[in-house]
């Protein structure tokens, strides 16, 4: 019997997760509520079945997530009986960080990067699972599965540990940490296929529906609540749209689509000519901007 590529990817991800649980003191799974997180969580449940997940989930909330994401998160936690830690950067919240006022760069840095570092320090997590994939972005392609971070949470792309066979080096000194990416070798299409095959629940925002959007700087932004200031002449209109990635609603572009079933989404993905991160405003802040963010501690 030959394993299919999805079976091989599944086995690899499960192997990685078990290795972390065997070697880490206090692991945590970053849960971003997106489709990749849904797949990662599903794999984790398989990896440790019949035991309960041997680590909590951590959601670094920015207070600007889509409302449907938060509903889905809380449903998932109830349905699967999970431990969830939610962290919002209290300094950022106190300063009233607002992507519409302060811009995407500051919002992302304060609420996501700083918020994440705070949460890891606060709870003393020494290994954090993330759902990033190598096919997402150029600088991700060179990241290790076990990606070492200094006590200051910095990534040094020039000084990464060699990673051979299935042997992952999880050793570190006190204060240092490791980010682990079990989905490194999955592509967007693999993720969708696996969701389809395993019937994994995902946030309804991935499916096309009529939603209120405005067109801004060439990106369709959904008006998810009344905190979004409208520019003169801007009028939200109802469009049949869906999202290829999910994050903070002001930073996440929708695509016009009629795909309201998984096969239809996969059909679009197979035929699409635009990569999924294009909807993310953050990647275009500057050349190699993702690499810089990652060095600073962004996931």
């Amino acid at each position: 019997m030959n394993l299919t590529h999805l079976q091989r990817l599944e086995a690899e991800s499960i192997h990685i997760m078990r290795e972390v649980v065997a070697e880490a003191d206090n692991p945590v799974m970053l849960y971003s509520i997106g489709k990749d997180s849904s797949v990662m969580l599903h794999l984790a449940i398989k990896a440790f079945y019949p035991a309960k997940l041997p680590f909590p989930l951590l959601h670094v909330d920015t207070a600007w997530k889509f409302r449907e994401m938060i509903e889905f998160r809380d449903d998932t936690v109830r349905r699967l009986n999970l431990d969830l830690v939610v962290h919002v950067n209290p300094d950022g919240a106190a300063r009233g960080i607002d992507p519409f006022v302060h811009g995407t760069a500051i919002h992302t840095h304060v609420m996501k990067t700083e918020g994440l570092k705070q949460a890891l320090d606060l709870y003393g997590f020494d290994v954090a699972f993330g759902g990033a994939r190598r096919d997402e972005e150029k600088s991700r392609a060179k990241e290790r599965v076990f990606s070492f971070r200094s006590a200051q949470h910095r990534w040094d792309p020039k000084n990464q540990r060699p990673e051979l066979w299935r042997l992952y080096n999880a050793r570190k000194h006190k204060g240092e940490s490791i980010r682990v990416f079990p989905l490194s070798n999955w592509t967007e299409l693999d993720i969708w296929q696996y969701i389809h095959l395993e019937r994994i629940p995902i946030v309804p925002l991935y499916f096309a529906a009529r939603r209120p959007v405005v067109q801004r700087d060439g990106v369709l932004i959904m008006v998810d609540d009344d905190r979004m200031p409208l520019h003169p002449g801007e009028l939200p209109c109802m469009k049949q749209v869906r999202f290829r990635t999910l994050g903070c609603y002001p930073l996440t572009g929708a695509v016009e689509s009629a795909a309201d079933t998984l096969p239809a989404i996969i059909q679009e993905t197979l035929l699409t000519t635009t990569s999924e991160r294009q909807g993310r405003v953050i990647d275009r802040d500057g050349d190699a901007s993702m690499e810089k963010k990652k060095q600073e501690g962004y996931f």
Binding site: M1, L164, Q193, K239, A288
Partner: protein, 651 residues
Amino acid sequence: MPQPSAIDRDTIALDVEDRLHAHQHKGLLRFITCGSVDDGKSTLIGRLLYESKTLFDDQITAVMADSKRWGTQGEALDFALLVDGLAAEREQGITIDVAYRFFTTDRRKFIVADTPGHEQYTRNMVTAASTADAAVILIDARKGVLTQTRRHSYLASLIGIRRVVLAINKMDLVDYSEQVFRAVETQYRRFADQLGLSDVIAIPLSALEGDNVVEASEHTRWYHGPTLMGCLETLPLAQEQRLRQPFRLPVQWVNRPNQEFRGFAGTIAGGSIRSGEPIRVLPSGRTSRIGRIVSHDGDLDYAVAGQSITLTLDEEVDISRGDMIAGIGDPPEVADQFEVTLVWMHDDPMMPGRDYLLKIATNTIGASFTGIKYQVNVNTLERLAAKRLDLNAIGICNLAVDRSIAFDPYANNADTGGFIVIDRLSNNTVGAGLIHFALRRSHNIHVHHLDVDKAARSAAKKQKACVLWFTGYSASGKSTIANLVEKELHAAGRHTYILDGDNVRHGLNKDLGFTEADRVENIRRVAEVAKLMADAGLITLVSFISPFRSERRMARNLLKPDEFVEIFVDVSLEVAEQRDPKGLYRKVRSGELRNFTGIDSPYETPEAPDIHIDTETASAIEAADAIVRHLTEHGIIKSPLLDSIDEDLTQ
């Protein structure tokens, strides 16, 4: 946007279901690409991504913009920029690390590890090759087989890659000449045969122009073999070979959610297993039978190599992480000494005798290399003598680990015969290796049981054997203090011995100098002698600078925890230099002496010595008293007074 009609949607769904079904049954081929800096490797990968329609419009647009800024192809698309990810590298114009790329065709999913062609990065290529089924080796048709080509082929064969696609690139620059192609092919095959690489497919290519990448080229009508893509779609997968191996499950994690369930989780490293089959657990050798193969989707009847599973056993056997579950018929060997190939991956060289950690399958154990048989020159395959292995060096070494483990020769099973080496202090991965064979099998070792043992010898001397290890700068006062301690112990009727530079350097170790490698060996021998003396029941005082933490730890590991006492004789370098009783510091400063600890050779301060003596505040006599007091208080030596009471009571 108008809603699609019901019929449209059904057609889409039908079509997608078909495609999903087809895609689900694809295999996965992982391969590496290697070539010299200008062979056009990144261009070729960029071309494969482009031709397999894996690239999205926005990525192409981004590369267009990058091409104008960084590119080397004028206004044309520079495919290489798709692949060279990191900003720093882009500026240097070379790829300096391993990058993984993905593309899919109707027949297979592919993961490409792009490996650098640059001289100093052997380590990256070995890393990338460790997970590859095949290697695509690029040759510039104009240049033929180069030193780098030989090196890449050697490394590929070393790591166990049997299938090589020889991409003879830049055919457009030699007018697509068959003669040139055949000449390069012949030259390569001759070399590859020596390495045992018999499965070589040579393809004439132009990555830049796209000839024979996906479509057969009109320019090479004389060539009737497959295109590169066609070849990659049909190469056999390494997984198939793994299935034919005997069953191996390195236990990764014991799943114990409650008293009723005890499951053993791991990834099958070879063969297959069915519920009910008999198994053997290594290294204990206990046998049992598979109970259930548990999965979230219900129990499985059987499982195969590559799957990550959880299984239960019919009869409870004590198993923990690091053990191996194997089929009963063909179990792995168990040993603690091996001959291995070692690839060194760190700036700090490998020193024989130094104490490292080894990770093999799910075991992490203490290890040291007990000797280097020879080093291999990766360019000429010549064998060279070596006392240490530097970054990117490859050597055939003897390896000793601190407990017996189950293993297979790497050639049979990479997952149970490949290991990484971890530095104990920095935690870096500093090397990778492949086991050839066991030097001595554990089941052949009969530890010779002696009727008179350490305890008996110690008891005859009415003492407890131990090693007092004095470390510190030259002129710190180690020997003076050690002498005073010995005097006190001797006066109390203890049996002692001092090992120091004077009685060891002139005899046992007179063949050793003061290079880092020799210092490591010096301490290794001293530690082994101290161990024998402790075994003889003596209180052994060792007085050596012993500047490296790893050697002091090695010495500690040779003895039981309560038998080793590390004494840090602390002094600032300034004060030591002022004392300078043997005039050594003066000689160093005048250039007569080199490799002197503290001056041009490092001293690694003990992090947690058992006893810390500050010789700038305490006199030698006070220090010696403090040491004897500490040893008495900690029960390492019995107080003379208590001892005599014991004797009185027993008489």
